[in-house]
């Protein structure tokens, strides 16, 4: 008997993660990865960032921005290894690593936003 495929769900997560990554990550990375460390723009203080992540909307936002892009990565990276390096014989290991990593990352993100003092 044919088993119902979970590919549509994984594709949906990949797609949603792609949208979130495209909209939100470039500006985040520009500010925190380049503009603040290189002194182009003055970095916000510790207190103001803490106030920001204590906002009630910060936890769901951070969870979405961390979790969905990880599922996007898992799906894309899996197929990059599959097509690019043609390592089909390691399929199960790769799937466990990719989707397992995304699930672990999501759990870690949930734990972190839960422990924001």
């Amino acid at each position: 008997m044919s088993k119902r495929s979970n590919e549509p769900l994984l594709w949906l997560l990949f797609s949603a993660g792609g949208v979130v990554a495209a909209l939100a990550i470039p500006v985040h990375l520009f500010l925190f990865g380049l503009a603040f460390p290189l002194g182009w723009i003055k970095s916000p203080s510790y207190e103001s960032l803490m106030a920001l992540i204590r906002h009630p909307l910060a936890a769901p936002y951070l969870l979405v921005v961390c979790s969905l892009p990880l599922f996007h990565w898992a799906h894309r990276f899996r197929y990059t290894l599959f097509d690019g390096l043609q390592i089909k014989h390691l399929n199960e290991l790769i799937n466990t690593f990719c989707y397992g990593g995304a699930i672990l990352g999501t759990m870690l993100a949930a734990y972190l936003v839960w422990t924001i003092p």
């Binding site: 990554a21 909209l23 990550i25 500010l31 925190f32 603040f36 916000p44 892009p69 894309r76 990352g105």
Partner: protein
């Protein structure tokens, strides 16, 4: 049981030329495709960085100062510069693909690609501006 068409577990060995592992180096569109797929690694790196940032914020001012110091190291700046280029590449290719993935019909015809691409870029600009405004606090 009806015979199921399609997938055969062990197909007969017909003559097939072996595709090189480095097939994607042979032409620019192939390389661009692999680079686009590879951008996902930098998306994942961003998440790692962000989780690290939240963790050090929670651990206190001293831990966060250490995190900022680490971000200023030349290796991290270089890595984040490369990551930034890759995530912008991801965003541009993602938005340009949207008209192909979304088949919106207007008056019986497919809507022109620009009509679907343009709002994506406007949304990108708006979200980026809003996030920068929130982070910078003004």
């Amino acid at each position: 049981m009806k015979p199921v068409a399609g997938y055969v577990p062990y197909p007969p060995r017909a003559f097939r030329t072996r595709v090189s592992t480095y097939w994607w180096l042979t032409s620019w569109p192939y390389l661009r495709f692999i680079l686009r797929e590879f951008s996902s690694v930098f998306v994942a790196w961003f998440v790692v960085l962000t989780l690290w940032q939240i963790a050090s914020l929670i651990r206190g001012p001293a831990a966060y100062a250490g995190f900022l110091e680490w971000l200023r190291s030349p290796f991290l700046v270089a890595l984040n510069a490369v990551s930034f280029l890759f995530v912008v590449f991801h965003a541009v290719t993602w938005f340009n693909l949207a008209p192909k993935a979304m088949a919106i019909r207007m008056g019986g015809k497919r809507a022109p690609a620009l009509l679907i691409t343009a709002p994506n870029y406007v949304a990108w600009l708006a979200v980026s501006a809003a996030l920068a405004w929130i982070v910078l606090g003004e």
